[in-house]
């Protein structure tokens, strides 16, 4: 175990834990947008930056990535940290002015409005890449990724066409912090709406109750991956013994 100080409080953490994990364990709040326990930390949103003092040097580090050290002194609310958080929110507000999530978080962090010219195309994607990271690390099909570079960066499928490897599981929609990916099951079809691509998937019909319950492609993938007999998914979870 490692002992460090966060905001004047002595806190214990496991070796190898990050500052963010240690803070969460001790109910100390550090905002973040691109962090999710299910995937490797990415360090892109920069909201989780905290100020550390080490070897007489003070600097800002991403708490989602920085490993705890014995005797580390961490400040989550210093003036420098607050100023940076506010600027990040101003920049995100200008990028996604209509996103309720961003508006709410901004207010929470003390930012009422943004100084910058707002974008007009009603985007909600903040390029946190959680969707792509989950698709790669958890689901394992890598159907989507971040394409282009810099200000032209976008979340997309190859060639902006419906992906042939996407199984329609909707993990991306589930994990997206701003609701930029929408998933809707209508009748026998699941519609996945991403910022630049829309995909449709045929849903499987339960042999017993007749409800449509999961994309066939997702079930095929699971069956193949775990070597299951295809009949395993003939019934929906409600109708299974």
């Amino acid at each position: 175990m490692v002992t460090l100080t966060i905001d004047g409080r002595e806190v214990q953490a496991e070796e190898g834990a990050t500052i963010l994990e240690a803070a969460k364990e001790s109910n100390i709040y550090i905002p973040s947008l691109c962090h999710n326990e299910g995937v490797i930390p990415y360090g892109a949103c920069r909201l989780c930056l905290v100020e550390i003092m080490r070897n007489g040097r003070q600097r800002l580090v991403a708490s989602c990535l920085y490993p705890v050290e014995e005797g580390l002194v961490v400040k989550t609310n210093s003036e420098r940290v607050i100023n940076n958080r506010k600027m990040i929110m101003e920049l995100l507000l200008a990028r996604c002015p209509d996103s309720e999530v961003i508006q709410g978080l901004a207010k929470q962090l003390g930012v009422e409005k943004t100084t910058f010219k707002v974008e007009e195309d009603n985007r909600k994607c903040i390029l946190c890449a959680l969707c792509a990271r989950v698709c790669e690390e958890v689901v394992g099909v890598s159907a989507i990724s971040l394409v282009n570079r810099g200000v032209d960066r976008q979340l997309a499928t190859p060639f902006y066409e419906p992906s042939v490897v996407c199984i329609g599981c909707g993990s991306c929609a589930y994990v997206c912090p701003t609701g930029a990916i929408e998933m809707e099951d209508v009748g026998d079809t699941r519609v996945l709406s991403m910022p630049h691509v829309k995909m449709e998937f045929k849903l499987k019909k339960c042999k017993t109750c007749g409800n449509y319950w999961a994309p066939e492609s997702q079930l095929d993938y699971i069956a193949k991956k775990w070597n299951l007999a295809p009949e395993v998914f003939d019934n929906c979870p409600n109708c299974r013994d």
Binding site: L49, R80, L92, L146, R149, G150
Partner: protein, 618 residues
């Protein structure tokens, strides 16, 4: 060619090469670097080849196509040995005369000699050219003596002796101590002590380690690494092999930016020849040490000059940097300990081993040892590569070596450190080039780009240029860089186009502070430097743009007007033809032309074509 089995065999080969060369035999050395080629060097080379053939001089005269010596302003360059005669701005038409006069009759062709305008005299010998004499060309001097595609040229000058010494007499730890003692600091921009980096890498856990040579030289205006890699690739290879031995790595990579095809080609040939001679590969010089080098090309991404982005690219991924809380010397390429250094850093290593750390440490300042190559460009008379001891002042470099500002214009600022650096004004010209001194004034050494600006350079335009460049090169991963630079670019564009508002400078400063503090990598965190330094030293220019809607330097298109100076215009009509918008008309022959401001798009075509200075830009 049998592989050399020991350092002794290397020395034997070296002696026999030197013996077989007649120092009195005429040799024509022509610069084959990218710069001289761009000035028509290829046709000069071909003309010499033809001329020598036609005159039957094949066995009597050697022709050597060399690397770039950096005297670019005077290219294409030709040096005639053994008398060390330098001819500048040589054209295809001059070749016959050079052969008939200098080669066959030993006479100098006066019109091709360099003219020192300061003393009004022509200079015959290469080693007397003032541009060279004030430099300390430890790394660059050999460029004009070596054909980069012939390893024997490098061997004849003592090449690979350092490697032989290391493999036969020094332990890896001893090599690291020597490099530490020398005080060598990274030449790519970071300035990190090289010996300490090597030591950390050697001590890192794991048996598989890598060496990388960063030849992604992305700073616009910098071409030191290009010249070293094109002109003397073996000096870099030798440094890498020594470094690999010290660290305990058996695989190395040279990452060359895609825009340097000649550097890629020459490095590939050098590796092949080194392998043939047993200087690379298995059991190098019979020492039992194995090391291989592969070349990888970039794809046009400035961010891949950042070490973690470079490594991502080498792993077949996009060039996204990652946080360096765990250093790359511990977890780098493929998560293995990796020693990455810049081209110039590697090239310094054989020098340190050959001459000793004590000798090296005598050059430079207390904290910045050795020499540094700068690419001196922009509004300067002697554009080219300049190698000077650390500690020489900016003024000495710009005026004594660079020859000052052309056209009698006034010096305004010099930009060092590329897009990560800052502009230094006239008041600070006595600043010595030193890692820490440059950082103190808001700039940095960077990789060595030194861009000189005069009274006709607009500092707001320069800030906008750098931010636009960095916005386009940002990988897009983190919010402060991707979104922040975009907003800085918008504000600077507004200012340069007459839409600046009160408070814009303060907003730029506030935005800069956040970007510096919260960006993920050095691209973002240093991006505001050019903006902050121009605000620091040239705030009045920003205020003129914002308050008066005026561009004092006459650059920002929306704020300037082109005007015909009637008294100087004879009505020749050249500008009328040049104007793409037909905005200029010759109303009456031999009378001044008339410029329609409404049609004028400020393209400058008329200004370029008028030889009488009758067009004014304000």
């Amino acid at each position: 060619m049998t592989s050399l089995g020991s350092p002794d065999e290397l020395e034997t080969l070296r002696k026999s090469i030197i013996k077989s060369r007649d120092p009195n035999k005429p040799c024509i050395s022509i610069c084959g670097g990218t710069g001289c080629l761009a000035l028509g060097g290829a046709s000069v080379i071909n003309a010499f080849k033809r001329g020598i053939q036609e005159q039957g001089l094949n066995t009597k005269v050697d022709l050597r196509i060399t690397g770039c010596p950096g005297f670019c302003e005077s290219g294409p360059l030709v040096v005639i040995e053994p008398n060390n005669i330098l001819y500048q701005r040589v054209t295809e038409e001059d070749v016959d005369q050079i052969i008939s006069q200098t080669i066959l009759k030993g006479r100098v062709v006066d019109k091709l000699l360099y003219l020192d305008s300061k003393i009004g005299k022509k200079i015959t010998h290469e080693n007397e050219i003032p541009f060279y004499t004030k430099q300390k060309r430890l790394l660059l001097a050999n460029n004009s003596r070596i054909d980069p595609n012939n390893i024997e040229d490098y061997l004849a000058l003592g090449g690979y002796a350092a490697l032989g010494k290391v493999l036969s007499k020094m332990s890896p730890e001893a090599v690291i101590e020597e490099v530490k003692k020398s005080g060598l600091r990274g030449r790519g921009g970071g300035g990190f002590p090289t010996g300490i980096k090597w030591q950390s890498c050697r001590e890192a856990e794991g048996d598989t380690k890598y060496i990388i040579c960063n030849c992604d030289e992305g700073d616009p205006g910098a071409f030191m690494d290009r010249s070293l890699m094109e002109g003397n690739p073996h000096s870099v290879l030798e440094g890498m092999i020594i470094g690999a031995y010290a660290i305990g790595a058996h695989q190395g990579y040279i990452y060359v930016r895609n825009e340097y095809p000649l550097a890629v080609r020459n490095a590939q040939i050098a590796i092949k020849q080194a392998e043939e001679h047993g200087l690379l590969g298995e059991n190098i010089l019979g020492s039992g040490f194995d090391f291989n080098i592969s070349i990888s090309r970039g794809g046009g991404a400035f961010v891949c000059g950042e070490s973690t982005a470079l490594m991502a690219s080498l792993e077949g991924k996009v060039g996204e940097p990652r946080a360096k809380y765990v250093h790359t010397v511990e977890k780098g390429l493929w998560d293995k300990p990796t020693g990455l250094n810049n081209v110039e850093t590697w090239a310094n290593v054989p020098l340190i081993i050959n001459e000793g750390a004590d000798w090296y440490a005598k050059i430079g300042t207390p904290k910045s040892k050795g020499t540094k190559i700068f690419s001196l460009t922009g509004k300067i008379n002697n554009t080219g590569l300049v190698e000077v001891p650390m500690g020489m002042t900016l003024g000495e470099i710009i005026y004594d070596i660079g020859g000052g500002i052309p056209g009698g214009k006034k010096f305004k600022a010099v930009q060092t450190g590329g897009p990560s650096g800052g502009c230094i004004p006239e008041s600070l010209l006595n600043l010595p080039v030193d890692f820490d001194e440059l950082a103190k004034v808001g700039s940095m050494m960077g990789s060595g780009g030194m861009i000189v600006m005069d009274e006709n350079t607009c500092m707001v335009d320069i800030a906008k240029y750098f931010i636009t460049f960095l916005e386009g090169e940002s990988c897009g991963k983190c919010v402060p860089c991707r979104e922040g630079l975009k907003r800085m670019q918008q504000i600077l564009t507004d200012i340069s186009e007459g839409r600046g508002k009160n408070g814009d400078v303060e907003l730029l400063e506030r935005l800069s502070a956040a970007i510096i503090d919260s960006s993920l990598c050095a691209l973002g965190s240093t991006a505001p430097n050019p903006v902050l330094s121009t605000i620091r030293y040239f705030r009045d220019e920003y205020e003129a743009h914002i308050k008066d809607k005026r561009c004092p330097a006459g650059v920002c298109k929306e704020l300037i007007t082109y005007r015909i100076i009637d008294e100087k215009c004879p009505g020749c009509g050249l500008c009328v033809k040049a104007c793409p918008q037909e905005a200029i008309t010759l109303v009456q022959k031999k009378k001044p032309v008339v410029l329609d401001q409404d049609k004028c798009i400020k393209c400058g075509a008329c200004y370029d074509v008028c030889e009488l200075g009758a067009i004014e830009v304000k």
